[in-house]
Symmetry: C2
Subunit: 428 residues, 2 copies
Amino acid sequence: MWHTSPMSELISRHQTGAPQNLEERFALRAAGMQPSEIRSLFAVASRPEIVSLAGGMPNLSALPMDMMASVVSDLILTNGAEALQYGSGQGHPLLREQICDVMALEGIRANPDDIIVTTGSQQALDLISRIFIDPGDVVLVEAPSYVGALGTFHQYEAQVVHVELDEQGLVPQALRDAIVGVRAAGKKIKFLYLIPNYQNPTGALLPADRRTEILEICREAGIFVVEDNPYGLLGFDRPSPNAMRAEDSENVIYLGTFSKTIAPGLRVGWALVPPSLKEKLVIASESSILCPSNFAQLTISRYLADQPWRDQIASFCDLYKVRRDAMLESLEEYFPASATWTKPGGGFYVWVNLPPEIDTKLMVPKAIVAKVAYVPGTAFYADGFGTWAMRLSFCHPTPERIRDGVKALGGVVKQEIARRSSAFEIKS
Amino acid sequence: MWHTSPMSELISRHQTGAPQNLEERFALRAAGMQPSEIRSLFAVASRPEIVSLAGGMPNLSALPMDMMASVVSDLILTNGAEALQYGSGQGHPLLREQICDVMALEGIRANPDDIIVTTGSQQALDLISRIFIDPGDVVLVEAPSYVGALGTFHQYEAQVVHVELDEQGLVPQALRDAIVGVRAAGKKIKFLYLIPNYQNPTGALLPADRRTEILEICREAGIFVVEDNPYGLLGFDRPSPNAMRAEDSENVIYLGTFSKTIAPGLRVGWALVPPSLKEKLVIASESSILCPSNFAQLTISRYLADQPWRDQIASFCDLYKVRRDAMLESLEEYFPASATWTKPGGGFYVWVNLPPEIDTKLMVPKAIVAKVAYVPGTAFYADGFGTWAMRLSFCHPTPERIRDGVKALGGVVKQEIARRSSAFEIKS
């Protein structure tokens, strides 16, 4: 009988050392790799009958496809052997030079040798996390912050600490307080991650004087600034202030991307870093993807060299400005007086605050029934905060669809407020 | 005076918590991110006057560029809005179906839902490491093994344990012994990583019976098998045995790539995994790159749908076979009798063993002077082993250049042997 007893089985397994179940075979960090609420939402939001104010997909209708086809075709015909071959781990030297021209529009003077081309700026976030974050290290982020960045920091087992943000972006005094508080608790702060231009998810624009103050605080405290700038060239009303990196080349890690100014399907972004960080980032990237795609990089390089890319960005701005206006007008028209929202001067997003008794995550199914989708505020916090808020994106649908969607969503919100207050009345 | 003493400075820094130097600001894993010997070698090897037998760049001269240009141009004109947009984190559903057709050539029956498209198979290695490896965990690999895989395992702080390989690939009894030895030392084994077809760097082909035996050993021991198969369709003399995944869908993680069968500049590879692993890998990939490039994926999808891709692979095989033959013939002609080498039936590489007193790393500069480059054997071991060996790749140069290169290298080797033996005579 002894050989069938559970205990002896356990011992025998222990002796062979074979793992007993799948969970035990994963790395510790894998425990946190759970599907997010936003993932299932996007599956629903992509149905054609739903007006999606959820996604951040750029609107490519202003991009002339015949021009793109001829750029790519010429590239293969004249330089196919290079475009289809492995390339440099750091990225193609020619593209890195052209990236310097793009960044010059925001006041940055850079050396192409300090640029690492990445598979979208998401990969840059991953690589920076990889070289800096040990489990338990603190990363400071705006409150709220970009969901994709939070996911990456989480995967490297960072402790994310949110720092207050208002309509003018990150609040410097709150940053000072956070640094003191975190360090008093004996934690290491690895960097401050922020999006100074038309922030995701709030649309906030950080003014020049706050940029300077935040740079000083971080320099003084020995904390790197990770400046994520996907939307800087998408200011509708006036140009954005100079990039933070323009003012500080020693302590700022700057992330850029062509996803919003050309097209995201190419997956080309970059990091511009202090020279002391470059080597480790290149090694980390080679370990992660060997090298970025020459095919995509040289397509962008040709496009930048031969096409009027500044005009193209201006066309994108026109297209998004009309949509931003449609959203702000219809929010005014259809949302209740108790709601407030940001008025972004660029980018893709409006952040809406509802009365605190509303739970936007619980409200999602009702919105879907009303054929409109948004992202609930909690997605942009590491700590469950933001239940009363929502992110609305105006980048992708037509202005008419945006109006329809905001109207429908306004109806859902009003009903929800009425339901809550009547429930409150019954209780009291 | 007290405020200038080093001790009080230290205390004051400790109080503010500001890091004292850059090294302290990095994550622990970053300490191992050091440039490899192979990196500086490749910079030299790319000079036109050098015959490079070092790199593993596929030869794209058999790929008709006008055809590729028209595939890409058609894609943008007819489906540009999708090709240039963000896509699914798991990879495009259509391409995942076509990948099943490609894998069917090696006996694999797969569900497209179990495939994750990656930025080259390097990214698959990264993701697998991410979900499995805690610092100190053991990964078993062939001795020698692919340098890029070793780099990734190292970055995740795995302990790499090499398992004996002979001309027939991994030796099953050595695998059994390694498992017992590692577990006796109290270590966790996370997976066995191997390249069964035309292995990098040796060119060894694992016969069918060993495949079955290794699968049994790993299943029994509860160790996943990571089957990396970039060269499986590049058998010159006869088709490769069925993939190991064809025989075991529960315990094998299969890695494929289009880098060698179409073109590496597209950076499209994939992992076919047991269903229980898929979700975590997709989440890890989204955190790492958000999504693979639709542009590259749909280019490949069109190519597979509209072009005679099997014939194209046959053309690649013809091209490489001539080069393999040129290399083996010239090794016979120009290398000393004391050298031995593998005779690969496919792939890109020959592995050369020299007399043990030769240090191929120290010999590199002499080879460069003789205008030929190779990769020294130590690059393929995690432990400094392999000083007497070298990897020669025959994939890229013309047969004439291969002969010139092997001739020049044979001269360097003979000189080195003569120098060593005369030094030995003087000493004795």
